[in-house]
Symmetry: D2
Subunit: 432 residues, 4 copies
């Protein structure tokens, strides 16, 4: 069997050798080879515009040149690659730069934990710590939340299909309605607070609340500033820790480095991963208010806590945040994006689309079935774009943040063509 070594888009190797759990290769059925900035190429040389950005791990684009240079240099000079949580020069540089470029300018003094290189690992560490410090067990999470696939993180994730995968009951968590879940006119915080203050509500006082300020996987649901501020106040009032999961929404995705900057809250714990490594390399950090940093040495650990290649690129990535320029660019491109999405919504009223999101995390919700067909049409046209939401009813537009105006417009043109195509086919089907 030598089919696999041909440079072709034959996916037989994956069908033969890989587990049936694989998924994105089914949505984007080609074999990728090279990538740069907002573009990807498959083995046959076909290029794609990337409106997916590694599910948020490639905010700075594919293989950003400055990071690449640093990375190759580090490799060339035999910089140490793997250090667990030993001290290394590369790690020190990251810590210093993270403080200088990110924490200090924002008046924050979080301790940095390296919990293992994935988002779910950061979430697990955050939940452990909140439980340890409070001595309580329940975590409050939200409808349509997504926090990860390991058992602790899965217990605070809303998705029924993913939860069922656990194979055991997922406990010690209580799922509350996210902002807007009960309709625009219902204040879900009032509901949440009634459960907390009422000693007959059937739930224990949670150790912490874990929240995404904008739910990406859950369908691009934006929590309002008022809701987030109110939630933060409830946390203080009841002595619960506020954990913001900024794994996908952090690193500038919604416009600022931390997604919660827009509403001025200061979480007790922040989970980061995905783009924190800068180059798509596995890395995660958990930020902890100093007074909560009550870990014993080694109480949480992991073999790949010390991914020095990622520290090199992560440090370089932070230079994007030394001035306001990057944030301003995201805002401008986000506005442009919203404009274009509104236009699409307006142009195809029969699709009953609803533009959603902020910054470079936007999308359009459609009736079930539409979004997936648009995504397929887009792939055929050279655009990588995922769907999200419970019923995959939302197209999710999250290009690399460094995409230029031309790239953005080119991708949006492909999107429009794809929508048009879906509409046409729909009409065709209907007219027969």
């Amino acid at each position: 069997m030598n089919h696999a070594i041909r440079k072709s888009n034959d996916l037989g190797t994956f069908e033969h050798y890989e587990s049936s759990v694989r998924s994105y290769c089914r949505s984007f059925p080609t074999k990728f080879h090279r990538a740069s900035g907002y573009q990807m190429w498959d083995v046959e040389g076909k290029s794609y515009i990337d409106f997916f950005a590694g599910a948020g791990a490639l905010n700075y684009g594919h293989n950003p040149p400055e990071m690449k240079k640093k990375l190759i240099n580090y490799l060339m000079e035999d910089g140490i690659s793997h250090t667990l949580d030993m001290a290394s020069e590369a790690k020190e540089a990251f810590l210093v730069q993270f403080n200088k470029a990110i924490l200090k300018p924002r008046g924050l003094n979080y301790k940095v934990m390296f919990p293992g290189p994935t988002g779910t690992n950061s979430v697990e560490s955050a939940l452990k710590l909140a439980r340890k410090v409070t001595g309580r067990q329940t975590i409050m999470s939200f409808t349509n939340a997504f926090h990860g696939m390991t058992l602790g993180a899965l217990a605070v994730t809303g998705n029924k299909f993913k939860r069922k995968g656990a194979g055991v009951p997922l406990n010690h968590a209580v799922s509350m309605p996210y902002d807007g879940y009960m309709g625009a006119n219902t204040d879900t915080l009032a509901y949440i607070e009634s459960y907390l203050k009422d000693s007959g509500s059937g739930i224990s006082l949670p150790a912490a609340v874990i929240v995404e300020t904008l739910q990406g996987e859950g369908g691009i649901n934006v929590a309002s500033n008022e809701w987030l501020t109110g939630l933060s106040e409830i946390c203080k009032r009841y002595g619960m820790f506020l954990i913001v999961d900024d794994v996908q929404m952090g690193c500038g995705r919604t416009g600022s480095f931390f997604s919660f900057e827009r509403c001025g809250i200061v979480p007790d714990i922040v989970c980061m991963s995905k783009s924190i490594g800068g180059y798509g390399l596995p890395m995660a950090i958990t930020l902890i208010k100093p007074e909560l940093d009550q870990w014993s040495p080694g109480e949480h650990n992991g073999t790949f806590r010390g991914n020095n290649l990622a520290f090199i690129t992560a440090t370089e990535a932070l230079s994007y945040w030394e001035t306001n320029q990057f944030a301003e660019d995201i805002a401008a491109k986000g506005a442009l994006l919203r404009n274009e999405l509104d236009e699409i919504v307006a142009k195809f009223p029969e699709l009953k689309g609803e533009a959603r999101g902020i910054g470079m995390m936007q999308g359009i919700a459609f009736e079930p079935g539409i979004a997936e067909r648009i995504s397929i049409a887009a792939f055929e046209r050279g655009l990588i774009m995922e769907t999200s939401g419970t019923d995959s009813e939302v197209i999710k537009i999250m290009p690399p943040l460094m995409i230029d105006r031309d790239g953005l417009m080119e991708g949006l043109l492909l999107l429009k063509n794809s929508v048009e195509n879906v509409v046409d086919n729909k009409n065709t089907v209907l007219s027969h």
Copy 2:
């Protein structure tokens, strides 16, 4: 504050900015910079012989030249770095080579799952799958087992301190006595089977048994071939899946690629990580018998499943296994190592040492307190060597497998000096 940018061993940055959870930087208090093969250098240029090998993630040594070359080339040509579980050329090459060099020659036909880039992630995926396929919930694990830090993996880990870190009860697991746990004369399999066959034993039939063939973190406890074979038979008899956690013991650590080759069993599921990536880069795979590969697409996922840089080095690493040479070398060095350890044990009878382990996973158990002092003395002499076991009572010798005879003997000399030093100080203390 500019202390952190000096090239010195000042660890102030870590003390100021990093969480108190950090641990190895306390045992090896220097700042590492460069590494090659079995050697590491700190920022002041001091060199260390590495008898730790990244806790098993660096079986092929630091920055192995062939892998480095492939990695740099891939980076230079803008090879795609991050692909989730999309198909990529680099991933295909790994799958093909893994089949050719590893599975096929051993008559195995596992499906390969990429569960996220860490060992704990592989364990979580294995437990999920066993529970899904059987519809049962309990997992049988063993005393002194170590399987990871996320909630699912932690539930099958023996260590009390780590377990307590969970902050919630760890359930759906039953801890049974490992080979030798109840003394050399007690057959723990008989005990285990009595619990399984007796309908009054108070435990449900487990979905699976998860086992390390040699417990590294647990104190270098070797399960005998008979015990492993017997366990495998019990699994078949009762319809439980056998999961071998080869995260640390795989990739040649005990002499063969898979640690279970020595006893001829074929697990239903195998967890691998650490050295599978070859270069210390985060990567993990879960091997699944085809008939158990009942995952739905995306039922378990993770952002860093597609670490293509690791695929590049992982593929290259497998060339070590194309002939028998590597395995033979490990066997020879393992024999040498055991010889030397026996000599140390014999030379210092007052320490009541007991040599343990197989292949390049060996150590000496001492009375409590001794091993840690030896480890400290070793570090001072330029040898990186960890302890393991419940009371850190075992020195754990796991050099990179590629270490040459000279390097091994040099490290062992440092070890002997360290032991001597501890003995002398002990005697000094005692003589006063």
Copy 3:
């Protein structure tokens, strides 16, 4: 120490010998001796009107003469007392009469299970069965619900203090808002249904919903007929079993034998205890739709399933239900009671009372602190009356159903005096 055998109200014996867990003897600090109908006498001969009725276990009053006669006859002729779940003549007579007087006239064909002689035991059996038949684990329960003190029943009970007593996390239950919990204008069923239909809500499909049609312990909260009917429809729509806990509200307390007759729903499982035994004797039954009666023999058991003395009185008690007279009497007395409560509310507007309840399960909610003082004043005046609700903010009026008009008016007069007394003292306090 012989203080305990004096016929006096000295409670020293209880203070010396009984656990600190005792509670009602603190609210009603006297030593009871004799009782008849709606009256109780303490050892000093003081009489009390009973507006408490053994928390619902004495709907037919204390020592009802016809039951007493049957009971004494049975004892005299050496009728068998204890039979586990062997067949006995007394049990047969109960089964026959229960079918004839209760089930058949209502068109019901429940199977009768004897789960052990307490309400919590009936609830545990109902939850077990629902989980067995559906293969699902979660039970939906409601805010302010009360279902019992053993671990399974406690998990579906809302009260925080009682739940904390478990000492372990209470899982496999989800607490949803009862009718009216979110204010009169919010339809809690809509909220519940959104959680069920949304696959991102974070809760699994429950095996069953357990509900009280009127929450007694929870503060005399009445679910409307529409809400109960809607809940029943949701259960059907989603394939969840509907369990009505009629332990306290059954046996005529709200006007009909089953509390759910007022809204026409037919639960899948009904839990009964308290007054089912007729004479305050421990007995419970679980009613099960025949198609759900999938128990294996002995799958749930208990030593006191076969309390034949209770079967004797229970059978006799059912004769109350052979005509409509008893239900009509309850309705008439309930109306009278509501009238009087409304009058009290109107007369003391400064107390901001709110009359609640239906049938002979009524009360008045006050601002916190008031109800307990009224209860104390009532006891001093010879009226036994409990409080309920999260903050004991509700006086709970549940006389034996057989109380006559004179008894009811006499008790209400004592109640009015007590309220007046509390108001006077309050004013006195305020005027200083």
Copy 4:
């Protein structure tokens, strides 16, 4: 349908109206009517010798005359029947007499808790309290243990069939090998202690150990005095509470009032029910060392805590214990019983019987299948006798303790005939 009111052994009523969960009526398929001492009569007047004693609830026999007299008097004078945990004269008398006749002479000063009228309720209260006081969650229980059917008690019960009935995972418990479980030559305490002292064993320090001194349901397994004493010492050494479940073995069943008197240990908590009420009436108590009585008022409650009819008979029952006579009688009859059982074992060597038990809790273990056939043959001959053990392989002989020598010998004669009959049939079958 009038089949049910005939005085016949037709069990149609039960088949039509009662749940399929019923079990003893299947083993003893007749309809009981009257009972006295060690005899029971069915509706057709057939008499049975009772070697079952209500599963231990009828230690004083059926309808003991002195208790019956007191009970009828109490009913005649309208003594209060149901009091929850209010103070009553009948309850006071019990507390005083329990202290005088039981606790004081044994130098014990337990506080008495009334947890609800069943054994499982007592066990639930004991587990709650141990968890509350220690702040720990795990309970250590034993293989083949039986503690009850509600969720907390079921979690510490060994039987797989009963456990499965829970429908949810049973957690917070660890099942350890009972005395003799691993064969006569293995010291299970050593095994247990290794799990406790080893910080890598995978189990948390339990809050308490719950144990039966002799396992009745589990197959008449007697724990030796040395084992029980050793267990008690382990509890002290590790700060775990020792809970003795004396629900079935207490009240004289094994020779002394408390079953643990034979080995001199003093449990921290004792669970009692079954015969504590004296007349087969539902009643339970939990005995608590004063320093552990840290309940808040009402933290555990239950409607039928105050079963005054049971208090009346319970108080009278304690007069059996005012002298040593009763204990001496049990010892004598127990010795006689053992003699006879040994004889049966010797007479039928082909059955490979093994006599087990102490006091009036004895039996013979056979190969699977034999015991059940003996039980059936015995019923046909007028002897009520149950089987126990995982595979119902043990005939369980537990007559009322008050049985006289004649009754005992008569029952044993029926037993011998039954065994003979089974042997004959077996031989007949074999000879064909």
